[in-house]
């Protein structure tokens, strides 16, 4: 049905349909909460950090968005939960860098568990969808 180079890979769809660490209610008990919004498409994501000293014990999110946005948020929480804040910061930067580049030649590949997002790089119009939750995470990390 869908052509091979489709944006809609299995992993992405799986994360969209059954997002990890997604809450339906407010992230009241989180130590730090930050919001990201893309007014141009109406997407909004809230990211909450549950800290254990310098370690992100858990990261959760809530909000609305397209499949790319939700899947990226889900993968993001997976990727950084349990990480040290510093490592998470580095990953944020890598992600920004990786998606902001025009064609990204010569850039290191992202961790394997984020590879499913790679397809989005071919769709510059969707970059904001991928990065929304990562930007909210970066904001939250600034407050750690």
């Amino acid at each position: 049905m869908i052509v091979d180079h489709s944006l809609y890979k299995d992993t992405l769809l799986r994360h969209y349909r059954q997002p990890h660490n997604k809450c339906d209610s407010e992230l009241k008990d989180a130590d730090i909460v930050r919001r990201g919004a893309n007014p141009r498409c109406g997407d909004e994501i809230e990211v909450g950090l549950y800290l254990d000293g310098e370690v992100l014990r858990e990261v959760k999110f809530r909000g609305r968005g397209c499949s790319v946005c939700i899947a990226s948020s889900s993968m993001m929480t997976e990727a950084v939960s349990g990480q040290r804040a510093d490592d998470a910061r580095h990953l944020c930067e890598d992600m920004q860098h990786w998606f902001q580049q025009g064609d990204g030649e010569g850039l290191a590949a992202p961790p394997a568990d984020l590879q499913a997002l790679a397809a989005v790089r071919a769709y510059p119009a969707r970059r904001r969808c991928v990065l929304l939750s990562w930007e909210a995470l970066a904001d939250a990390l600034d407050a750690v």
């Binding site: 049905m1 052509v3 349909r17 498409c41 109406g42 499949s67």
Partner: protein, 422 residues
């Protein structure tokens, strides 16, 4: 109906296959292989006649306008003014002197807001727009109201999605300075009742600006019949070039309007230091800077192209296609049509469980170019209670095949994102 009548009706129809051949991109471009272009409300493609008019102008008759004393400059000036004449006839203007070539519809509306309305606006006055305006016909009015302590009134929509003029008793009140409405909504596609609105406004000495950006390609515009005081559209949405648009204004209003841009060609006498300068008359006052001759030539060629197709036929074709598409879409599970039944050329919709971005993306992957988002109409979308819609919009080169592809793409999207998550 007799066979003869049927035949004559068939002969009276646009043949989109033939029309498509006029458009090099749709005919030949590798990037457009298998393309079903249904984003005509954003911008249309260009027939060879328009592309040629631009190239020929550069290659055969290019020169500076209005100020040259040699044959090439005289020819360039004549061609520029001939384009203005063509556009004047296209919209039934009483004189080409009422037409200003602008950069776009956006610039034209900003010109009227800043140059005519702002200097006349007092605290407590009102400018009215409608709930369904494009940001281009909303933000300029909002800004001047904020600057002057005036109020931006909104003509809301009734249950059927139509302008609730009856429910807006202050619309024609004594504090109203101007009414700005679109002829056709760029999200919903329905046509607004411009004629009665203008008639009542004129009876109350209130000028009306009509944003014809979405009607110019498939409705016949006649400023006298509409009764409007200002009218604007962009060439690029009517098969013409980008970078040029039009402002029509009635004589009185044009004479009263201050220029948005100052510069060469619009001033008779420049004051020393802070001493006042004296502007030129007529359209020149609003065309500061070197005029866009190839743009004007391409604009006129687009008019010629539309006239050649016959604007009545264009209208019937686009309307018929919209009807068929609306029926097919309506039959898709989970699909909600937001456009009212009489909409023409534009259909907005959402699909349960599928974000409009995903809908447009999946369609795009299948060669169906539709748009998703707020379509620069946030006030309307707030009213609809949604953040985005998907939108398909039709032009002269679209046909049943495009509608079929759209339906298939939406069907596919429904399968990628089934209502019952697996």
């Amino acid at each position: 109906m007799t066979a003869a009548v049927q035949n004559s009706m068939a002969a009276d129809r646009l043949d989109p296959v033939q029309v498509k051949r006029d458009f090099p991109l749709l005919r030949d471009a590798p990037l457009a292989r298998g393309l079903h272009y249904l984003d005509n409300a954003a911008t249309t493609h260009k027939p060879q006649a328009v592309i040629d008019a631009i190239s020929d102008c550069y290659a055969q008759a290019y020169g500076p306008i209005h100020r040259g004393l040699y044959p090439l400059a005289e020819a360039a000036t004549a061609r520029y003014e001939q384009s203005r004449q063509t556009l004047a006839e296209f919209i039934g203007a009483e004189s080409p002197d009422r037409l200003v070539f602008t950069r776009s519809a956006t610039e034209a509306i900003n010109m009227v807001a800043g140059g005519w309305a702002l200097p006349r606006l007092q605290p407590g006055d009102r400018i009215w727009v409608s709930r369904m305006e494009h940001h281009a016909n909303y933000l300029p009015w909002q800004r001047i109201c904020q600057q002057r302590g005036a109020e931006l009134g909104i003509i809301e929509l009734d249950e059927d999605g139509r302008l609730d003029i009856a429910g807006t008793p202050e619309l024609f009140g004594s504090r109203t300075r101007l009414i700005a409405v679109c002829h056709v909504s760029n999200v919903l596609g329905m046509e607004n009742p411009i004629q009665p609105l203008c008639a009542e406004a004129r009876a109350n000495a209130i000028p009306v600006l009509v944003d014809a950006a979405q009607s110019v390609a498939h409705l016949t515009l006649d400023v006298a019949a509409l009764g409007c005081d200002f009218l604007t559209f962009s060439a690029h949405k009517m098969y013409g070039p980008t970078g040029i648009g039009l402002l029509y204004a009635r004589e009185q209003y044009l004479a009263e309007m201050q220029p948005l841009l100052l510069g060469g060609g619009m001033v008779d006498e420049v004051g020393e230091g802070n001493a006042p300068s004296r502007w030129s008359d007529g359209p020149a006052r609003f065309e500061a800077g070197s005029p866009n001759l190839p743009g004007a030539a391409g604009f006129a060629a687009a008019v010629g192209y539309l006239d050649g197709l016959d604007r009545e036929r264009v209208h019937r074709h686009v309307e018929a296609l919209t009807r068929v598409a609306a029926m097919s879409l309506g039959a898709l599970p989970g699909l909600r049509l937001l456009s009212p039944p009489e909409s023409s050329a534009i259909l907005s919709f959402t699909m349960e469980g599928v974000h409009p971005h995903d809908l447009a993306q999946i369609a795009g992957e299948r060669g169906v170019a539709i748009r998703a988002g707020h379509h620069c109409a946030q006030p309307l979308l707030r009213h609809l209670g949604i953040v985005a819609t998907a939108r398909a919009s039709f032009g002269v080169y679209n046909d049943q095949d495009d509608v079929n592809a759209l339906v298939a793409a939406l069907d596919a999207a429904g399968r990628v994102f089934p209502l019952e998550p697996s």
